[in-house]
């Protein structure tokens, strides 16, 4: 059974790129949403193995969604990949403290993103080494 993935980004073009990378990594798209609250709702509906979240989103930021996911025992095991356009070290540190598994800066290549998602989803390669 392929892993369910929730994608959240307020930019539809970026969502399309991420969904392509998810498909290339062998993931199954559960939901593709444009804000943080919708992403959290989708994750809570269950079946989500990985959430690819943009940091800057309406209603809830990716960091807030990540913190909420980690705080809920039902969703605490969901993998979180944060995608951000910010290059500031503080943003990266904030992602780490929110409990994200990986942090990728925009712009990213589809191939590189697919590889990253693949590494996260592949149980044999999975090892919680902390945020990148």
């Amino acid at each position: 059974m392929t892993a369910g993935v929730v994608i959240a980004d307020d930019d539809a073009d970026i969502r399309a790129l991420v969904s392509l990378a998810v498909r290339r990594a062998g993931g199954r798209l559960l939901a593709e949403v444009g804000d943080g609250q919708a992403a959290l709702d989708a994750i809570r509906r269950g079946g989500c193995r990985l959430a690819v979240l943009d940091v800057a989103m309406p209603r809830m930021t990716g960091l807030e969604v990540c913190a909420a996911v980690r705080a809920d025992p039902a969703t605490a095991g969901v993998l979180v990949l944060l995608v951000s356009a910010s290059v500031q070290p503080l943003a990266i540190a904030a992602g780490a403290s929110a409990g994200a598994d990986r942090f990728i800066e925009k712009p990213f290549g589809v191939r590189a993103l697919a590889d990253e998602i693949g590494r996260l989803l592949d149980p044999t390669a999975r090892h919680r080494e902390g945020p990148a």
Binding site: A85, S86, K106
Partner: protein, 598 residues
């Protein structure tokens, strides 16, 4: 001479000193003069001469006859000569002891008068008393001796002139008259000596009094000047403190009671100085920060903690949020300094507060701007680069591009990357400007960083026909730093060198340790080119943001002038530095120096 000077000289001030009014009335002047200055040999002689001449009126009395007119005449001449001598001898240049000649001459004159008017029976013997007293007034004992000798001679003079007159009774007179006169002279001499001594003491005391008076006057003048300076200094200090309207200056005593409250404090804290000085303490200004139950204890504890730190002697700067009297919340930077008395003991504290509210707001706005730019520029670039990657992807045979289309896509990709690089550089410099640029230090091999930058620059160098050479280090060069950022700095230096070197030129990258005799050996990365060079007068501006050397614009070398700014910021963040040496038309060498791993 000294004695004469003392008695004959008016006191320096006070008694005997002729005043302006006295000078205008000659009679009173003379009275004062004779009352206080009677030791002039001239005045004594004038008195003696007057009495001597007046005594000649006795010749009108029957029974008093002149037996030897020549002797009387000689006595008169001698008195006249003594009077002239008195005038001469008072002039400067004659020793004081010379004045005793005058009474000695008078003694002889009286002796001659006595001899010419009956010898031992003369009634003028009594006149001897005048020169004897005059001699007694003279200082020292020599006048006594000479006076005694001359008196004996004078008494013997009638017997010398007429031996027949020397009867037994006359010999008694020869013995007793000089003895009585000598004792009289001795008494006068002793009295005047004592008087002279006391006058000397009085004069000395007066001189000392004058010195003390002058010292007191000088001291008073100095005190007045010091007081004026102190008042001036205090006024200046007050003026300076009052002129500081953008910073709050608050001075307190040891208990925190406020003693100084400048206009800046009034403005910043919203309270008038007259409502604060001596009435309120620091705790009052801290209460608002600790609203709620137990606020007094919390405020006291907060103030106590601040003061305890200041008492340690190191000036402190603390950022704190302060609620003003009108309820506004201000962000303050407060420096706290202990105030010490002359003995060095802490007797209060000085608080200088700067309102950082606007500065912090600006910093927040800047951060928000950077975040906004990051998001709004980098997100569309993500789409552009992502879809270009898909477009150039040859996996889908049906959508495979032609070679020409590939070239077009590559051009778009290259320019998108340039745009991304520019955005990244702008964001980087904005971070540096806002003081928020941080590096993540780790132990790293600088040789690997330099090699990676060298490899990255090779395609561009090859494309421009520039020879690229790497003088590799003999082994790993360990430093503490951020590999990503150091790579960025070296990338900028190498890519700049390639960019500013015409085809056929050479770029050499070398790596090594600085001189071993340096206190702290440094790793040196040197990038030399044979490029267009930089004018000497522009070298000091080279690391400024957006600065481009005139040679760069003349040769139309592309760029925005951020690469060196970034390289220097990275070097500085690593406690390192960048030096540059350049000659127009010959080339440029940049040297990046980094501290060795301790």
């Amino acid at each position: 001479m000294t004695g004469r000077t003392v008695l004959g000289t008016s006191p320096p001030c006070g008694i005997g000193a002729p005043t302006g009014a006295a000078r205008r009335t000659p009679v009173s002047w003379w009275i004062r003069r004779f009352a206080t200055d009677t030791n002039s040999v001239v005045e004594r002689q004038l008195c003696t001469a007057a009495v001597y001449v007046g005594a000649h009126a006795m010749f009108l009395v029957s029974g008093i006859v002149v037996t030897e007119p020549a002797a009387v005449l000689a006595g008169m001449v001698l008195v006249a000569a003594a009077t002239m001598a008195a005038f001469v001898l008072r002039r400067p240049g004659y020793p004081g002891s010379a004045a005793m000649i005058v009474p000695l001459m008078d003694l002889l004159a009286v002796g001659l008068l006595r001899a010419g008017t009956g010898g031992a029976a003369s009634v003028f013997t009594i006149l001897l008393i005048l020169p004897v007293i005059s001699l007694g007034v003279e200082p020292g004992r020599w006048p006594l001796l000479w006076g005694g000798v001359v008196t004996v001679g004078v008494i013997l003079l009638p017997a010398a002139m007429d031996p027949a007159s020397a009867t037994d009774g006359q010999w008694v007179r020869v013995i007793f008259t000089p003895l009585v006169l000598g004792l009289t002279c001795l008494s006068v001499n002793e009295l005047t000596r004592r008087l002279r001594s006391r006058i000397s003491a009085v004069k000395l005391l007066r001189a000392q009094q004058a010195v003390l008076l002058r010292q007191a006057q000088d001291s008073a003048a100095t005190n007045a000047a010091t007081s004026a300076l102190l008042r001036q200094g205090a006024a200046l200090t007050t003026a300076v403190i009052d002129a500081i309207t953008e910073q709050a200056i608050v001075g307190t005593d040891l208990d925190g009671t406020i003693e100084v409250f400048n206009p800046g404090a009034e403005r910043l804290l919203g309270v008038a100085a007259h409502d604060v000085l001596g009435r309120r303490t620091l705790v009052d200004f801290t209460l608002l920060e600790h609203a709620g139950p137990g606020q007094d204890a919390a405020a006291h504890a907060a103030v106590k903690a601040l003061i305890a730190e200041a008492e340690r002697g190191v000036p402190l700067v603390r950022s704190r949020s302060q609620v003003t009297a009108d309820g506004r919340r201000r962000d303050l930077d407060v420096s706290i300094t202990a105030r010490r008395d002359a003995a060095g003991d802490v007797d209060g504290f000085i608080f200088v507060a700067t309102d950082m509210t606007e500065a912090k707001k600006q910093a927040r706005l800047k951060d928000e701007f950077i975040s906004l730019i990051s998001h709004e520029l980098r997100t569309p670039l993500s789409s552009i680069l992502g879809y270009l990657e898909l477009l150039a992807d040859d996996d889908d045979e049906d959508a495979r591009l032609t070679a020409e289309q590939h070239a077009h896509v590559a051009t778009i990709q290259r320019n998108a990357h340039r745009l991304l690089s520019l955005v990244s550089d702008l964001l980087f410099t904005a971070q540096v400007e806002s003081g928020r640029f941080r590096i993540e230090r780790r132990e790293l091999d600088l040789a690997a960083v330099v090699r990676a930058s060298f490899d990255s620059a090779r395609p561009a160098a090859k494309a421009r026909g520039v020879r690229l050479a790497l003088g590799d280090a003999s082994g790993p060069m360990l430093v503490s730093g951020d590999a990503l950022r150091l790579g960025q700095a070296v990338d900028n230096l190498v890519s700049n060198a390639v960019k500013f070197t015409p085809g056929g030129g050479r770029v050499a990258v070398t790596l090594g340790w600085g001189p071993a005799d340096e206190e702290a050996p440094r790793a040196l990365i040197s990038v030399s080119d044979t490029g267009i060079g930089i004018p000497a007068d522009q070298l000091d501006q080279l690391f400024g943001r957006f600065f481009r050397a005139s040679t760069a614009t003349q040769h139309a070398v592309p760029g925005v002038g951020l690469g060196l700014t970034i390289a220097r910021a990275i070097a500085t963040a690593h406690d390192g530095s960048i030096r540059v040496a350049s000659t127009v038309g010959e080339g440029t060498t940049f040297t990046l120096a980094l501290p060795r791993l301790p």
